[in-house]
Symmetry: C2
Subunit: 420 residues, 2 copies
């Protein structure tokens, strides 16, 4: 029997009406002949409520108890979804993490899968169950305590089940109808993509596109699980949503598939630091220890102190990090200076920046993408502050006020409004 | 190490402030040197919310899924209580039913205990845990599905744990400060009892006193678990609450310990039925099959059709049942009449009645309690409609409008306002 995994996020199961709507989609697939594993999130708002209660108990809470409390939200949805399916005449039952049992590491609130044994669920399929409704986001540790995967973990649960059960596809039902060339709220020309490669989706996910959790895309790529993102609020057809798949399954792809942006960036510059071997390690070692996620890095000759005598001896170092980690970064640098490990004249923070990225697997075989990107931004008078590149993406840091303009200009420049 | 079981009901853990207040009481006992097992209910209102959602899925729901959804409320409280205790410096952890594992029958929504193995919890006590916080009201079936014990089941969980772990005492914290001679809302002379025998508590619980669940008292009596009922909103002293214990542990007891009442009664009379051997079986068999809980029964010669010719040949049969079962009872009787199993002239329902009971183990050795009761009611002009007695209680059905008056009169007649 072919098997399908269907995942419904919090807004798709926010109340009983929406659970019924989601169950109708499950029933349709079961009637098409699939065995179905449904992965559910907590009803919208529930997880935040539970987290709020845990935080009220005190500032330093036991992550094991946090997990035991927070995982309960998904258990409620799983039971209600199974009941709704039964009411529609579909043989279904709910599964909590420990009943499967979903085995994870003991890293509470950030656990990773060890194994998803198929035996228990397969046996029930053999006995006539058509739908297994599994609570997302959770598992049990080797010690038998409840674990959770971290926020958004239900996407990852869905992909892991699809891989473990050899599913034909993993459908992620959410409140948007697919992956777009860029955010439709910023560019009215944004177009839904029919297909996108795992690598591209991975870049887009880590660059700020919120539609899928990064880890779930990684896992799908590793196990070659075709992933479809689609809306739970629209009728489903074969053309619905966006299929995230192997690049070989994409007939002909554009050089650039999408334009991503992120507002949550800050730029930090250390002025006039000694330019010597090991200085990068002296800076970025303490930042990593302080838990700062450094993203882009640029080292250049100091504009401030440039003169014949110093040339080559001093430099400026610029890096970007999430805006909410700026104070942590500043403290790490001040401490390193106090310990005499680094010396700088000044630390300047610029939180008025945004990151714009163009992503596309076509870049691998096409030169000139960077040139076209820089030219297009320049034509709009937008100054580039920092650049970083990977094989399939180019990111730039710019003044935040130009963010929307840059997205629109790049969307036009790469003709993303036209179909593949 | 001596061990104590402490149980907190829904109003005692309704929010984080109340959980903190309950945790303070637990800490105090831990500091007195006890190992403590805490049994918690769901936060007030939560179980009703979960049940409401289940009922929205459809009229005939799978009790296994009902249990999986509804049991989640207690899991949340258990985690929050463990976190709160940890924050106070008390080594604590939460236990869900399947982690103990609490083994029950597969009668979902009405499961009964099979076994509570001590190994897992004992091992953690040996490793330094001082408090095990256990989710009440739940367990797992032999098939590994989540079960619940039915509403109010957390009291029963508490007593079962006290029995399994040989606890010195089981303290039931609730929103009243003990067991009273009668409802203080009805008689201002009601007095808190320091001690009450299991048998008396059992009668009071089944007669409508809501303070403890009947099954928990039965279990406590069977395993001789001393049970203390006390308020979670007052400071605890040795004199707090009411101790429910073996009658041998009560120094000298009054003839009557308390006066109970119930509004939820109805009286049904079948007029002019054939008086022959087997007529009682022909009436009460169909009622039992229809799930009607018949309480009191009176058979007497029909006033309506009494005459020389018929004397002895016809009778009237009166019985009482919960008011919400009246229609079921009426239908069972009409069906039996239609099948020709019984024949009656008329079925009259009186829902305007109340049941008043006096309870006391002293009745066993004292005659005259019934006479004093009837005399006292008669002095107030209250007519008795039905009487039933057991070894330690006498119940009467009266017009509902006299209910408060009867309670007050009997409280006075048996001098219950005076201390033992």
């Amino acid at each position: 029997m072919p098997l399908l995994v269907m995942k419904f996020g919090g807004t798709s199961v926010a109340d009983l009406d929406r659970i019924r709507n989601a169950a109708e989609k499950v029933r349709a697939e079961a009637e098409r002949g699939y065995d179905v594993i449904v992965i559910v999130s907590a009803m919208a708002g529930r997880t935040n409520e539970l987290v709020g209660w845990v935080e009220q108990t005190g500032p330093f809470y036991d992550a094991r108890e946090y997990d035991a409390v927070v995982a309960s939200g998904e258990n409620v949805t799983a039971g209600l979804m199974a009941l709704t399916l039964q009411e529609m005449g579909v043989p279904a039952r709910s599964w909590q993490g420990w009943q499967v049992p979903i085995q994870t590491t003991a890293q509470h609130a950030a656990a990773r899968f060890i194994d998803i044994p198929r035996d228990n669920i397969d046996q029930k399929f053999a006995e006539g169950m058509k739908v297994a409704v599994v609570a997302g986001f959770q598992g049990i540790s080797p010690e038998g305590r409840i674990t959770t995967l971290g926020r958004g973990g239900s996407d990852t649960t869905a992909v892991a089940f699809a891989a473990a059960f050899g599913a034909e596809r993993c459908d992620i039902y959410t409140d948007v109808d697919g992956v777009y060339t860029t955010d439709p709220r910023i560019s009215s020309k944004a177009r839904k993509l029919d297909r996108i490669a795992y690598e591209e989706m991975l870049e887009l996910a880590s660059l700020g596109a919120k539609v899928l959790q990064t880890r779930s895309v990684e896992l799908a790529m590793r196990y070659k699980v075709p992933l479809r993102v689609l809306s739970s609020f629209e009728d489903v057809t074969d053309a619905s949503g966006t299929l995230v798949c192997d690049e070989e399954d994409i007939m002909e792809s554009k050089v650039v598939s999408g334009v991503a942006y992120s507002r949550d960036e800050a730029k930090i510059t250390l002025f006039t630091i000694e330019d010597r071997p090991g200085i990068a390690a002296a800076i970025f070692g303490p930042l990593a220890e302080a838990g700062v996620n450094v993203d882009m890095i640029v080292q250049n000759i100091s504009e401030k102190d440039y003169d014949e005598a110093h040339a080559g001896a001093v430099t400026d170092m610029t890096f970007s990090c999430p805006v909410n980690q700026v104070e942590r970064a500043r403290k790490a640098m001040e401490d390193a200076q106090a310990r005499g490990e680094i010396a700088y004249d000044e630390l300047i923070v610029d939180t008025d920046v945004a990151k714009i990225s163009v992503v596309g697997i076509g870049m691998r075989s096409h030169a000139g993408v960077a040139a076209r990107m820089f030219q297009s931004l320049s034509a709009e008078g937008i100054n580039i502050k920092v650049i970083s590149t990977s094989e399939i993406k180019i990111s730039v840091l710019i003044d935040r006020k130009y963010m929307e303009l840059a997205v629109q200009a790049l969307h036009d420049a790469f003709e993303l409004e036209k179909a593949d």
